[in-house]
Subunit: 360 residues, 2 copies
C-alpha cells in the first residue's frame, strides 16, 4: 500500500488571509501532466476550462488554482502564470513559455471582508510556496494544516507553507487557502450555516493513486457535518425565498460553490481525465445534500501525471483500469468531503453586516 512518491512532483501551496476569510490554493503539476474538467453547478467562475476540453489541442496542464473572492479571485491565476513562467514552466512558443493554468473560484465575499480578494500577488505567493515545496522534496513542510494530513502522508503532495497573508488569527484546520472563507448548509438560511473548508483524501488501488483536494463551500449539507443529520428544509418556503435571493443582502444565491481537483499518477488521456472529473462529481452527489445546485458553481479539474502506465488502448484491460480510476475518483472525493466535520472551524461564522439599503 506504500505509494511514496506516486504523486511526486505534485505540490500544493496556499495564501491565506484568516481575518478577511479568503485565500487561494495552487496545485502545481509535474511536467508532462494532462487534464480535463467538468462544470456541474449553475453559477461557475472558471478560467481556462475550454482548453481542457478533450477536443482542444493543448494537452498539458501546469497548475490548478482554487480561489476565494468569487469571479474576482480568477485574477490570482495571473500571478501563478507569471511565477511559473519565471520558473520556465509552460507551453513553449517562439515568444516564450505560456503556462497553462486552470482557475476556479468560490464565493466568500459575505464572510470576513468582501474587499480582500486573492489577486495576482496572492496567487504568486501561493505558487511560490508550492514551488519551494516541490523543489525541496526532502524538506519537512512547516506550519502545515492537519487538513492536509492525508495528502502529505506518503509524500503524495508536497505542501507549501501557508506563507504570507496571515494576519493575527490562528490558522484553523480546514480553513486554509481557498477554503478559508468557505461555508456550507446555506440552503437552511445563513443563520444555520456551518463552516466549510479545504479537505483531501487519497485512494490507492490497482497500482494507482487518486487524490482529491476539495474546497467545500456548498449551498447544501455535507455528510456528517453541521446540520447534515437534521431533516431537510423545504427549498420553497411558503412566504419567503430568502436563501435563494429575493433579498440580495441576506441571500445565499450565487454565494456557494464546491471546487475539486483530482490528481492521479496514471498515464491518462484528456478524455480519460474527463471521466475522472465526472467521477468526482458523483462523489459530490454522494456527500452533498442537495448536490450541484443552481446557486453552486461546482467544478472539478482532473489531472494525470502520467507516472504509471496503463494497458494499450486496444487491450480490454484499459477499460477496466479507467473504470477503476474513475471509481477511485468517486471514492476519494466522497472520502474527502466526509472529513470536513473533523477539520472545519467551529464557532460563529463572521458574516459581514448586510449592506445598507440604497438611499438609507
Amino acid at each position: 500500500m506504500s505509494t511514496l512518491g506516486d504523486l511526486s512532483g505534485v505540490a500544493v501551496g496556499h495564501w491565506t488571509d484568516a481575518e478577511a476569510r479568503t485565500g487561494v490554493t495552487v496545485v502545481v503539476l509535474p511536467e508532462g501532466s494532462t487534464a480535463s474538467a467538468e462544470v456541474r453547478g449553475g453559477a461557475p467562475a472558471t478560467r481556462e476550462f475550454d482548453v481542457l476540453a478533450p477536443s482542444a489541442t493543448v494537452t498539458r496542464l501546469d497548475a490548478v488554482v482554487l480561489s476565494g473572492g468569487s469571479a474576482f479571485g480568477l485574477a490570482s491565476v495571473d500571478g501563478v502564470m507569471s511565477t511559473l513562467a519565471e520558473a520556465g514552466r509552460g507551453f513553449v512558443t517562439a515568444g516564450g513559455v505560456v503556462p497553462i493554468v486552470a482557475g476556479m473560484s468560490l464565493f466568500d465575499l459575505t464572510v470576513g471582508s468582501s474587499q480582500v480578494r486573492p489577486g495576482a500577488a496572492e496567487g504568486a505567493a501561493a505558487a511560490a510556496a508550492a514551488l519551494s515545496a516541490v523543489s525541496s522534496p526532502g524538506a519537512e513542510p512547516q506550519a502545515v494544516p492537519e487538513s492536509m494530513a492525508n495528502a502529505i502522508e506518503g509524500g503524495k503532495h508536497a505542501v507549501g507553507q501557508p506563507a504570507v497573508g496571515q494576519r493575527g488569527v490562528e490558522l484553523v484546520f480546514g480553513a486554509v487557502g481557498a477554503g478559508t472563507g468557505a461555508t456550507v448548509s446555506k440552503w437552511r438560511g445563513r443563520d444555520h450555516a456551518a463552516a466549510g473548508g479545504l479537505v483531501t483524501a487519497t485512494v490507492v488501488e490497482g497500482g494507482f493513486s487518486v487524490s482529491a483536494l476539495v474546497a467545500v463551500n456548498a449551498f447544501g449539507d455535507v455528510v456528517g457535518h453541521g446540520p447534515a443529520g437534521e431533516p431537510w428544509p423545504s427549498l420553497v418556503p411558503p412566504d419567503e425565498v430568502g436563501a435563494f435571493g429575493a433579498d440580495a443582502a441576506t441571500s445565499s444565491a450565487g454565494t456557494n460553490t464546491t471546487l475539486g481537483v483530482i490528481v492521479t499518477d496514471a498515464d491518462l488521456t484528456k478524455t480519460e481525465c474527463l471521466l475522472l472529473a465526472q467521477g468526482a462529481h458523483d462523489g459530490y452527489a454522494r456527500a452533498i445534500t442537495p448536490p450541484h445546485c443552481r446557486v453552486d458553481g461546482d467544478a472539478v479539474v482532473a489531472a494525470a501525471t502520467g507516472a504509471v502506465p496503463l494497458a494499450d488502448p486496444s487491450d480490454p484491460r484499459r477499460v477496466a483500469e479507467v473504470e477503476l480510476l474513475r471509481w477511485m475518483a468517486v471514492r476519494a472525493t466522497a472520502d474527502a468531503l466526509a472529513t470536513l466535520a473533523g477539520v472545519a472551524p467551529t464557532g460563529p461564522i463572521p458574516w459581514m453586516t448586510p449592506p445598507a439599503e440604497p438611499g438609507s
Copy 2:
C-alpha cells in the same frame, strides 16, 4: 399531499416477454409536454436525444421508449411513432404529424434469448396499451405489476396492461417491460449478479410532483439489493479482467445500462428539464455502486407536462422552484432505485449458454 391528477395524461404501457427475458416500456406524455435528456454512461444506445438538446428548435416530446434488446431495441420506437401518428399525435407538418419519440435501450441479450428483441410491433403494442390507459382514465388497470404501485397510487400514472407478448411464465414484480431481462451487480462477475427490473417512485413537494421510472440494469450494485452490502471487489483482478470483456462470451462489458424517465407536472423549459435529468443522474450516483461506468449506457430523459405554472423567469422564486424540482428528481430517482430489492425477481438468472468458439 394529495396530487391526484397532477400527472394526468401521462400513461405507461408495456410489452413483456417473460420467457425470452426482454421487453419495452412506453411513457406517453400529454400534449404540450417538453423535455430534455442527458447521457452519463460510456456505452449508450439512444434515439432522438439530439432533438432534446436545449439548443434544438423542437420543444415537444410525445413519448419516451425504454427497451431491452441493446441497440436493436431502438427499432421499437418505429412502432411507437406509427401508433402515435395514427392517433394524431406529433409535430404538425404539411406532410402529416411527426411524433417526437425519444428512445433508449439496455443490454439484455445474454439473458433468456438473444434472438427476441423488441421491434416495431412490440413498440406499437406497448404504445397501444399506454394509449388505452390514458383514453379511459377511470378504468381500473388490469394485471398491473406491483412495481408500478407507486406510480399508480394517486393516479399519477395511468398504466396500460402488460398486454401481448407474455409467454407462460408468471410475471414477476419488477420484471416487466424494459426491466424484464435486467440484471445488476455484474461488476462482481456474472455468477454474482442479481436481477434488476423496472422501479418507480414519486416525490411531492411545493405543489409539484416528480416521478421517476427507472429500468435498472447496472454494472454496479444497487443500494440494499443483492450483494450490495458486501465489500466491493477489485475492479482490476490481478490475473483476469473477465467482467470487463477480455472474453466476450462471458464478459459483462457493454451489457449493462440504467435507463431513467423523470416526469413532472411543472411548466419547465427544455433547459430546466435538462437540470432535472442531471438531478436524476445524481440519484444514480447515490444509489448505484459504482455509478456511471464505462460499460453502462446510463441515460435519462426528463419531461415536464406543464400543468403547474412556475414563477416568472425574472422572479427569484423561479430559481428556488427549479432548484426544488431538481432536488426532487435526485430523490425520486434514488428512492425508486432503493425499491429494487423489494420488487426484483429471485432465483437464478437464466444466462444464455456462451456461444461456441468459432470453428469449434
